[in-house]
Symmetry: C3
Subunit: 284 residues, 3 copies
């Protein structure tokens, strides 16, 4: 029985970071390139709920382009800090299923990350901090027999569910010293300017760059100009609503990165830009 919603509160209002006590199981998030057309994701959920019936399942996305490890890694990194402690993040973008690539669980102070060791988990792991990495080799936690083509169902979903149910990560296999990194382009930050590029294009056509908000603080006090695709420079504005409808703008977006957008439109279309398009920032 939960008392949520009945507790009398007489002191100061709780902030968002003071969660009520959970009476349900842990959260398992799912991120895949399986799409919504087939039943692959539902099948993984059935397997997980068979093992941990009280888990709360949350989809991050399943609409990644097929085998887009980098896009998946970026979306996972952009999501993990918004989930409560103890969440299990299950990610499967796995072009190498059936090959020798390892299957792993990464333990961080706040969350577990489960998936193939192909770089998919690395940016999220780096953001949260890595405590340990274990190879998934203890087959007693897998479905039996393990298929050659669907480790999401037979390996990753069972392991995520057992983690959610309290099995410690060392039970799944030997510790690994490292996990596979993911090559992400780093911005070049110099006193006079910053040279970065577009990292991700979202469904609105917003261009998320690899230039973090902190890097722009060097220009504090002077006006900042952002240049993309040989167009006139944009000033940095506070929010979408600061531009006229149809006008482009540069803004610190929800990833805490420099983002180039078009008010009520698509910056990807407006600039003919996409992943890898160079973006530079300079003060006056």
């Amino acid at each position: 029985v939960t008392t949520v919603g009945r507790a009398r509160r007489t002191g100061p209002r709780p902030r968002h970071d003071a969660p009520l006590r959970r009476t349900t199981g842990r959260i398992i998030t799912l991120l895949t390139d399986f799409g919504g057309r087939d039943a692959y994701v539902g099948i993984m959920k059935g397997v997980a709920l068979g093992i941990c019936p009280t888990a709360t399942l949350v989809d991050l996305t399943h609409e990644l382009p097929a085998q887009a490890v980098r896009a998946g890694a970026l979306l996972l990194r952009s999501s993990v800090e918004y989930f409560p402690d103890g969440t299990v993040h299950l990610a499967v973008v796995d072009p190498g299923v059936g090959s020798a690539r390892a299957a792993i669980v990464v333990t961080t102070p706040r969350a577990f990350l489960v998936g193939p060791d192909n770089g998919l988990l690395a940016p999220a792991a780096a953001r949260l901090g890595v405590r340990s990495v274990h190879r998934l080799s203890n087959e007693s936690f897998f479905r039996s027999p393990v298929s050659a083509t669907f480790h999401g169902r037979d390996v990753f979903a069972p392991v995520a569910a057992h983690l959610a149910a309290g099995t410690p990560p060392e039970a799944f296999g030997d510790a690994l010293a490292t996990l596979e990194p993911l090559d992400l382009p780093e911005p070049v930050i110099e006193p006079a300017d910053i040279r970065g590029e577009v990292l991700y294009v979202d469904r609105f056509g917003n261009l998320v760059t690899n230039i973090p908000a902190e890097a722009l603080s060097a220009f504090r006090g002077s006006e900042v100009f952002v240049r993309i695709a040989a167009m006139s420079p944009l000033s940095l504005t506070h929010t979408y609503a600061d531009a006229a409808p149809g006008a482009p703008l540069a803004v610190i977006g929800s990833w805490s990165m420099l983002e180039i957008a078009v008010r009520d439109g698509s910056a990807a279309e407006h600039f003919g830009a996409g992943i890898g398009t160079p973006v530079t920032v300079a003060g006056r």
Copy 2:
């Protein structure tokens, strides 16, 4: 512990409107134009579950065309009566994020509506009846800092979760006298005929009009003809199955509105019709 499924029932069968006692938290529905490609919706859910772990999250849709406030408002209105009392409906279609538009919670006898005050909530609020409207201004309920571009994550999801956890709506800010209305085209209802238009086109190509079932009762007893796009008039039929495959028909649809459909096909394609296409109804 729940006794669902174990209770012996000896009296009359319960009707759908006699729900079993909830042992979980309230329902939070989500309706956005964020799409399924990115992780924005999953992030909102992570924030909400961090505050109200026992909430049950239900997606209404996230596939609205970008910034389609009207389509979102219509879908929300078409949904709210089917959820149990106490549901929190969270809706974010927010072209004005970061501008001066208010963020609000609308309290109705059966549900809470949370979102931007841009007309999105108005039709659902009118259908359920408005008890009060409060501006979301108490920042102690928001994520901190509040981003300029993603109030779904930083303002609306936290507030919806606190509502689901029992925080009363007046805790979030001052009462407002009104909420922003949404201009929806009203049908012209006269003794001889009704002149309306297409309000919404669903994924099957069914044309939902703005002519309510009640308006057709004026013609009770005489045959009713429905005319769209200068085509031969259609008789009103009871159900899709009353037409031959590929044939058009007019029917009272699931929105309790006059709907024009094609059996096993798309009326939008058949008639070259869309939002705003005129539809007239007349008796013989």
Copy 3:
């Protein structure tokens, strides 16, 4: 209160088929052709949660082509064995809504299947084994009034939720002797070769055939060749990773059927193949 995650385990590790005790309600899966653009699926969930608030709702898919009974039936069959005992599978692909087709619940040893009696449930029922079939005729379990066009909301979701809450299947109406079958093409299995066809194409372009893994055991010991679309024969390989990127391969896929794939690509595009394309298998 659940003790999930706290139990000390000192014996052998539990296998996936030893689920922890549920403290939440049963699972209801949903499979429809309603798509994600409208709110039809969310509305069904609202109705179900109003009746069985502790149900856990899992989407199989809603992105079936409109009225694709066969694709729905195949996906349902491919999913049911992966859910825990007692799951209620709710499936609505219903071109005959409002016609005389029956609405039914199929009781199997492991699960309930709820939907229209148009073949949609038949393959899953055959896979699980049929104990009984009941017609849904007891209107006290329906929403009132029942619309002519949306039985998913008014008939199937309420019945699924009452099943999840413990109502026995015989409460919903009279027993039926049979359910409508679905015509699926059967492979021709002869000593020298097997002649089958493509049954389903998934989002990756993988071609799932109607040739079961067991049928290939006849060729055990000799090399097996798979031929599709007048192309050079493929050898049977163990997994996707056994082929070079861009190369086609034949594999036993996750449906335990012969599947033709292209490593990191689409076999449907590579071979210009689709549902019904012939596939033959022969030994050397």
